[in-house]
């Protein structure tokens, strides 16, 4: 049985590195502010959110039809469409395609889905060299770390960290953390790979049923360099990425980058329709738990996600704990509601890494009720006996005390009488945690109720 991810412990280490933690918070808050200004510039913003949510809801409730329509049209366009039930099938399909082409060098642009499927180690173990071409992903690949954010994968690193990683892996000057120098060094190392590569892999932000096309939104041009050079292009696409018609795309393209980075649109929005003459284009449609999630009454809404990361940028907990502290492919608010569908026990602490403040729900461009789902996951986790014993016991005692006026009064009046420690049902165990970085409130001479009875009477 896999160990439970300890978010609190991991966040403690993250916060200890004060420069990193403060930079991380400021950088992501800056994205949130830019998102605010961009959305303020569109008077129809809230209408767009409602529309996007409705389109996604409609698509997800008719998903089978749209997937088949996509397959028909994509095939007619000359693509080869594959279906993968789970991560293992996905990885095997990709490997088979590569093998059939004798392809051993793969240039890859960003895809959270391939991380979810743990594709890279699978292919590397089978002799495939993979080069991540997105700058942030490349930094993370060279440092042998997963991405910490779904849009800005290396946002937890300072420029000095990147200089160190490049110095160690690319042979650049580890003491030179000049950003243009670092970016240019990486470019010089990566560019020749496009020419050497046998195959390119991309993800997709959207797949359009009506046209059998898919859309990739990037800012660096790396996906397009890859897709347009080698003779083989494989796109891994989660089945929830479907949109019915091309006319729906505009709603999402207008919101994706505004929500993600606070820019009006990504630098490049590429529509892939058919393989170039003499080359092949394969699409792998991946389920990997999505159908099961679609059947969950309280949680299927999470499939509306377009992976913009706005919920992560606004989340005060994510900003102060970093993506790696979640120990999962998906971190932050969206991760907290998706991860337990993969492994309830392993990710059972994550829905508690939230104050339920609701900012995530308010920024979500497709109106996923993220914090309500976090609340509901807590109930599921308690019902399935995955709460830590100390919390379970604290709640049992609190529930008992708070259900009884007599027990309740005994507890609060003991506190008011000057006992050193607050009653545990009010402050929960382990209460010691309160005082580590905070003062304990002073217990007053009398409770409100004691004051009321003394001044207004009414004691029975």
């Amino acid at each position: 049985m896999m160990n439970r991810v300890d978010h609190a412990e991991a966040s403690s280490k993250f916060i200890e590195a004060k420069d990193h933690a403060d930079f991380h918070d400021k950088r992501l808050w800056d994205l949130r502010r830019k998102r605010d200004s961009e959305s303020e510039a569109l008077p129809e913003w809230e209408t767009l959110r409602a529309l996007a949510s409705q389109i996604k809801e409609h698509t997800l409730t008719h998903l089978g039809d749209y997937l088949e329509e996509f397959e028909r049209n994509a095939t007619a366009n000359g693509m080869v469409v594959h279906w993968a039930r789970d991560a293992a099938e996905h990885n095997e399909i990709v490997h088979r395609i590569l093998e059939a082409h004798g392809a051993t060098i793969l240039v890859k642009s960003k895809s959270m889905l391939t991380d979810e499927c743990e594709m890279r180690p699978f292919l590397e173990n089978r002799g495939v060299e993979i080069v991540e071409t997105d700058l942030g992903e490349r930094i993370q690949q060279l440092d042998d770390e997963p991405p910490s954010h779904i849009v800005v994968p290396a946002v937890h690193k300072l420029r000095g960290d990147v200089a160190e990683v490049f110095g160690r892996t690319l042979g650049t000057d580890p003491d030179n953390s000049d950003v243009p120098y670092l970016a240019e060094s990486q470019r010089r190392h990566t560019r020749p790979t496009y020419l050497r590569a046998h195959a390119a892999m991309t993800g997709a932000n959207f797949a359009i049923a009506e046209t059998g096309t898919f859309v990739v939104c990037t800012n660096e041009g790396n996906a397009d360099l890859g897709a347009n050079l080698p003779p083989l292009h494989i796109a891994s696409i989660g089945i929830e990425k479907l949109l019915p018609r091309i006319e729906h795309l505009g709603v999402f393209v207008r919101m994706l980058s505004r929500s993600a980075l606070g820019s009006p649109i990504t630098q490049i929005t590429s529509h892939f329709r058919a393989p170039r003459p003499g080359t092949e284009m394969h699409v792998v449609l991946v389920d990997n738990g999505r159908s099961e999630r679609l059947g969950m009454e309280d949680f299927w809404y999470s499939l509306k996600c377009i992976r913009c990361g706005a919920c992560m940028n606004t989340c005060p907990v994510y900003r102060r704990s970093g993506g790696l502290s979640y120990g999962a492919t998906y971190s932050g608010p969206i991760g907290v509601i998706i991860d337990p569908t993969f492994n309830l026990r392993k990710y059972s602490a994550l829905p508690f890494a939230s104050t339920l403040n609701g900012s995530c729900t308010s920024v979500c461009p497709v109106k996923i009720d993220i914090h309500e789902q976090i609340y509901k996951w807590r109930e599921v986790i308690a019902q399935r006996h995955q709460l830590p014993m100390v919390k379970k016991e604290a709640m049992r005692v609190a529930g008992k005390v708070l259900a009884s006026p007599k027990l309740y009064r005994a507890a609060v009046e003991a506190a008011a009488a000057g006992l050193e420690h607050l009653p545990r049902f009010l402050v929960y165990n382990p209460f010691n945690a309160w005082g580590r970085q905070r003062e304990v409130p002073a217990a007053p001479a009398q409770t409100f109720r004691q004051w009321y009875v003394a001044n207004r009477g009414g004691e029975r």
């Binding site: 916060i15 308010s362 609340y375 709640m395 009884s404 009010l426 309160w434 003062e439």
Partner: protein, 247 residues
């Protein structure tokens, strides 16, 4: 108007002056106030931890104590949110549904039900940072949240603007969560404390002498953080200021 007063457990135990100010303010505005003596808690701490079975007893007791009142007023946004939107572990009898419908956070009651926008007895010549708890902001929608594109409104600020001499300061992140979050404050202590520290520093940098809040649970946490950090901030509930507390 006859109303029932709900004083949440942590206000009862640690901030009786907030309960007293709420009672006095309601009476000053002509309400006849009942305080059911057997009240304890609304069930939120257990339910927010996923333990709905453990919340049932407190919720049943709450419904029993407050059944039959036209209005149940409480100086707490998160308790109001729990009763109104999440008190679901008990059977939803017509009586329970009425209790859930009739609960009001104090500012909602003053602003929406009574429509009282003048507090001529109140004077507070100080620089104030307003902290609206996240439930009060985004669930009760007492103010426009910074994420949402809609015309600006802010009920607590509107009431405070009637207080003589009170000057509201603008922190950089006015509606960032302070990190209390109930059991989050102890089970996720590192992030909670960091958020609290950042919050009070933001108010301090904005020039606040006082943080005035709709929510004492947030205040309990922020006050603890500010004291540990040695910041000269002081804390009050909005009921105290509207009732005419002098610093």
């Amino acid at each position: 108007m006859k109303v029932a007063l709900f004083i949440p457990c942590y206000v009862d135990a640690f901030f009786p002056e907030v309960g007293i100010a709420t009672l006095h303010l309601l009476e000053r505005l002509g309400c006849e106030v009942d305080y059911p003596l057997d009240q304890t808690c609304c069930g939120q701490p257990m339910a927010n931890s996923g333990c709905h079975d453990d919340a049932r007893g407190a919720e049943a007791l709450f419904a029993q104590n407050f059944a039959g009142y036209d209005r149940i007023v409480t100086p707490s946004g998160s308790c109001t949110h729990h009763v109104r939107d999440r008190m679901t572990s008990i059977e939803q009898t017509p009586e329970v549904q009425a209790v859930r419908r009739n609960v009001r956070e104090l500012v909602e009651f003053l602003h929406d039900d009574l429509g009282v926008l003048h507090y001529p007895w109140a004077s507070f010549p100080h620089k104030v940072g307003l902290h609206i708890g996240c439930s009060t902001l985004r669930a009760l929608r007492e103010a426009k949240a910074s994420e949402i594109r809609e015309p600006a409104f802010n009920k607590p600020a509107r009431l405070l603007s009637a207080v003589k001499g009170l000057e509201l300061v603008q922190p950089e992140r006015p509606d960032e969560c302070c990190g209390f979050g109930g059991t989050f404050s102890v089970f996720e202590e590192p992030v909670s404390a960091k958020m609290g520290r950042d919050k009070v520093e933001d108010h301090h940098r904005a020039g606040a002498q006082y943080i005035v809040s709709t929510d004492m649970s947030c205040v309990m946490h922020q006050q603890g953080c500010a004291r540990r950090a040695g910041l000269p901030l002081r804390f009050l509930h909005i009921a105290q200021v509207l009732n005419g507390v002098s610093a």
